[in-house]
């Protein structure tokens, strides 16, 4: 899995957000470096939902934060409608913030416990000195009653309601792209369904483009038009959602699907024959294809040569030397 390369990117005029060769690194102490994201590229057309799926440590959240430049990536390019965000600093960068909003995993930690909901949601318009008070409108749009909710503080709400407040805070600025980082993984099944439904409604109503990050493939499939599978900071596979689930070509994608009880209706071999062991450390990733240490199909070539992303089907992209062909 190696997944470097940019062959899968579409022409500039078709996309709203274009991410190229994104690299995110953190110091790991003792002079070592965590390579959280190593050369990941993807793009989003206007109105599209891109799902990013992978296990802990695959770099999906680091990539999300690099998109909003918090912190900026070590290298690579993030272009929003042609505007290169990584080249911006200070006030110029701040001025682009309205267009790119984010929703986080922990609904409680996402809200300042000492502020009222009206202030939390109204913070954006105040910062941008926008005319008119839209707090009530967006609270209603996310399914909260402004009359009872606006004057209360976050701890008076359940996890699902807190997530609605976070969504309202992001929406009030009319962003073009909303990055959802594991927005439903802290929620119960019934609440998760409510929030997923809400995101779909809001996407239509506010013409949003979404990056939806999660570890649960079923959740990602439910909301995404295309899915990007990541492993240890690299891209494995990118395909339209239905295609990815019904015809997974990358060994890791197949292992992910087979690990889900029920196996997604595919007749895959048992998960333990598709993946073994544990993910290696991102401080010292394997050479060549990073998945090779757990891959049943690995061959000597995988250790020496990093596979590049190439097309294997209609808008179906893959980074593997020995993909599964059906």
């Amino acid at each position: 899995m190696a997944g470097s390369g940019t062959a899968h990117l579409r022409p500039d005029d078709e996309v709203l957000l274009r991410v190229e060769d994104l690299v995110v690194e953190f110091p790991a102490g003792r002079g070592r470096t965590v390579r959280a994201v190593s050369g990941v590229s993807f793009d989003l057309a206007r109105g599209e939902t891109l799902g990013i799926v992978g296990e802990s440590g695959c770099g999906k959240s680091s990539a999300a934060r690099a998109l909003v430049q918090l912190p900026p990536p070590r290298s690579g390019s993030v272009r929003l409608d042609g505007l290169e965000l990584t080249a911006l600093r200070g006030e110029a960068l701040r001025r682009t913030r309205r267009r790119l909003q984010m929703i986080f995993q922990d609904p409680i930690s996402s809200l300042n416990p000492r502020r009222r909901v009206r202030d939390i949601v109204g913070e954006g318009p105040r910062v941008w000195q926008l005319p008119g008070d839209r707090v009530d409108e967006v609270l209603e749009a996310v399914g909260l009653d402004p009359a009872t909710a606006a004057e209360r503080r976050p701890h008076e709400f359940s996890g699902g309601q807190c997530q609605r407040i976070s969504i309202a805070r992001a929406l009030i600025l009319d962003p073009e792209v909303v990055i959802c980082d594991e927005p439903v993984s802290a929620l119960d099944v019934s609440v998760q369904a409510q929030i997923l439904g809400l995101l779909e409604d809001l996407k239509d109503r506010y013409r949003l483009t979404l990056v939806f990050i999660a570890h649960d493939l079923a959740v990602v499939k439910n909301v995404s038009d295309r899915i990007l599978v990541m492993y240890l900071g690299k891209v494995c596979e990118l395909a339209p959602s239905a295609d990815l689930i019904s015809r997974p070509a990358h060994p890791y994608t197949r292992a992910l699907i087979a690990s889900i009880p029920g196996g997604g209706g595919l007749d895959l071999p048992p998960a333990d024959t598709l993946i073994s062991g544990e993910p290696p450390s991102p401080v010292d990733p394997p050479s060549g294809c990073r998945f090779r240490t757990r891959c049943p199909r690995a061959a000597p070539r995988c250790a020496t040569e990093e596979p590049h992303i190439r097309q294997v089907g209609d808008d179906h992209w893959l980074a593997c030397h020995f993909p599964v062909k059906e």
Partner: protein, 628 residues
């Protein structure tokens, strides 16, 4: 809900207020001035005219103590404000900017803190002159390093929180983030520390004054008064006692209020906070036969008496479980599934009321005391919890932790226990188990840690293994490994497994029987394949349809269960689910439905679903192919 501060804190705050008020209004109070000699007979004890008596020069001690409070509290307040004024901005800067700013500020701070504070104060005051201003400045400056440290720590903990990140994503400028997001959160710990700082400064000023290095006579200070009275200890103890007691009470009060404020720092509240133990009146249980089965739970109930009312966390749950079977308990958070396990194990806070019976091979565990329960837990009942890190001691090696139950419960020798531990670790799929014995929990991945806790739970060959969300904290590929392992071990060791999970697809694949819980009650029970294929209770049906499945089409609308689970302290009348149920009719609001008599697949519903099949097919494929 208002938090309870407690009587002692109000008393302490009252005392601080009284001393402060007296010091402010000293000039208007009806007693002699502090320096008026022979206001009464010298060295006389407490009397109506002089409640604290008089000193050697016949001065009124009460008056001197009250005027002394001006100096003590004045220096305290001034020094604390000075420390806060200098320390808070530095601390916030260090905590928010991080990197170089932080490194420089903290390096200087550490050096400053290494100074022996009181010696430094003595030297400066002796050199620069003993007066109010110098004492205040010295004590204030000495407090700065602690303020920096405290404020930086508080700032750091909030600067990392996602709401600060969210504010930056909104485009909020740094100054506004500091002002709006961080300062209000840092204010509470700062206020708490201000009180404790007051106590420290009052004591320090007292010490200086006692040595004659604070404000000079005739202005009275508490330390000075104690010093003066020292010589009269034998003849007129009240002269030294009065200022000592007042100072002691004041310092104690500042500390008390400060500590209590710190305890309130946590904004979030735990909904289920048992406050007092009611008379241990076990809840009544109807008579029932004790069956010939491994585990029998009969009308188990766990209630908590809270200020909000009686919380019925587990309310009348019954089931039986045989060897070689897996029983799954499913439900959303707050449904009582974890509390049910803890009730069965008897691991409940002392303030709960438990009712009902738990029989393990015919022995009534609810009749056991803690001492009798100890050999049952671990030996006959094993447990695995969601977070393996909390189950493992971080400072002890894996080896000692796996060997401990073997040595304690099975009385093995060290050599035997070691050999057994290696075998156990190998059986849960840990590569190179001999090396593993010497490692510490933090050196392992989450999946490996969970394997270790499973090895520990299995070490004494329990009859029943209780696994509470054992794979929720793990990645999906690791989750499959761990579940497969549990399944294999169950067969190898002929034990029963109780699996608590919120993940219905996991349950469908690995459980034989399933209990669906809602608001502390069992609402449906039966063979897993059948419950998932043909749910009768609408709640089970909606749970199944609310969970996304890989086989659903893209952008498939999931079934939404409106509303929220009910408050366990104020359950609605009738069926607890009726307000969220699309099929509810009038009867559901009035009468709670009992669990139906059907022993194979009982459910609690007046208007059960017919049991559709088409939609849930995929779920059952998991249950059939459980060999995976």
């Amino acid at each position: 809900m208002r938090r309870r501060l407690g009587f002692g804190v109000w008393l302490a705050a009252g005392w601080i207020g009284l001393v402060l008020l007296a010091a402010l209004l000293a000039d208007f109070l009806p007693f002699a001035r502090y320096d008026e000699t022979l206001a009464g007979p010298p060295q006389s004890g407490p009397s109506a005219a002089h409640p604290f008596g008089t000193d050697g020069l016949g001065r009124d001690v009460l008056s001197r103590v009250v005027y002394g409070a001006r100096v003590s509290l004045g220096v305290g307040l001034g020094a604390v404000l000075l420390g806060l004024g200098v320390g808070a901005p530095l601390g916030i800067l260090a905590g928010y900017r991080r990197r170089a700013t932080d490194a420089v500020i903290m390096a200087v701070n550490d050096v400053a803190q290494a100074f022996p504070a009181l010696v430094f104060a003595l030297a400066v005051v002796a050199f620069a002159g003993a007066n109010l201003r110098n004492v205040l400045i010295v004590l204030g400056v000495l407090g700065v390093p602690s303020w920096v440290r405290l404020i930086r720590g508080a700032t750091l903990s909030f600067a990392e929180r996602e709401f600060v990140l969210a504010a930056r994503v909104l485009g909020t400028r740094d100054r506004r983030i500091l002002w709006r997001e961080i300062l209000p959160n840092v204010a509470v710990p700062a206020a708490s520390y201000a009180f404790i700082g007051m106590a420290v400064v009052v004591v320090a000023e007292g010490s200086l004054a006692f040595l004659g290095l604070s404000v000079q006579a005739p202005t009275p200070t508490w330390g000075g008064l104690i010093n003066e009275g020292r010589t009269l200890m034998e003849t007129a103890p009240h002269v030294v006692l009065a200022p000592s007691v007042v100072m002691f009470l004041t310092v104690l009060s500042f500390n008390l209020v400060g500590d209590r404020l710190r305890a309130l720092t946590d904004v979030r509240e735990i909904g289920l906070e048992p406050v007092r133990a009611p008379a241990a009146l076990p809840l009544p249980t109807p008579t029932h036969p004790v069956r010939d089965t491994l585990l029998q739970v009969e009308e188990l109930r766990t209630h908590f008496v809270t200020p909000r009312g009686v919380v019925k966390a587990v309310d009348g749950v019954s089931f039986t479980l045989d060897r070689g079977r897996t029983l799954a308990i499913v439900g959303e958070s707050g449904s009582g599934k974890s509390m049910l396990i803890r009730s069965v194990l008897g691991l409940l806070p002392g303030t709960s009321i438990r009712g009902g019976h738990v029989y393990l091979s015919g022995d009534d565990l609810t009749a056991y005391g803690p001492a009798e329960m100890r050999p049952v837990l671990g030996r006959r009942l094993g447990t695995v919890f969601q977070d393996p890190m909390t189950a493992l001691n971080p400072v002890r090696t894996i080896g000692t932790q796996v060997m401990e139950p073997l040595r304690v419960h099975l009385r093995m020798s060290r050599r035997q226990a070691r050999a057994e531990a290696v075998e156990l670790l190998a059986s849960v799929g840990i590569p190179d188990p001999v090396r593993m014995l010497r490692r510490y929990p933090h050196q392992l991945s989450g999946g490996m840690r969970q394997r270790v806790t499973i090895a520990m739970a299995l070490s004494c060959r329990p009859d029943v293994l209780f696994a509470d969300e054992p794979t929720t904290a793990l990645d999906v590929t690791i989750q499959a490994q761990v579940l497969r392992l549990l399944h294999r071990l169950r067969a190898e060791r002929d034990m029963a497994v109780v699996l608590v999970s919120h993940d219905l697809s996991v349950v469908a694949q690995w459980a034989d029987e399933v209990i669906v819980m809602y608001a502390g009650k069992v609402v449906e029970r039966g063979p897993a394949a059948e419950v998932f294929a043909r749910p009768r209770m609408p709640y089970t049906e909606s749970l199944l349809q609310a969970a996304p499945r890989l086989t659903d089409p893209v952008h498939h609308r999931l079934r939404v269960i409106p509303g929220r689970p009910p408050d366990l302290a104020h359950l609605p009348a009738g069926c607890a689910f009726h307000a969220r149920c699309p099929y509810a009719r009038e009867r559901c609001e009035l009468e709670p439905p009992p669990l139906s008599e059907d022993h194979h697949h009982p459910y609690a519903c007046w208007y059960p679903r017919p049991g559709t099949t088409a939609e849930q097919d995929v779920r059952t494929t998991g249950a059939d192919s459980r060999g995976r």
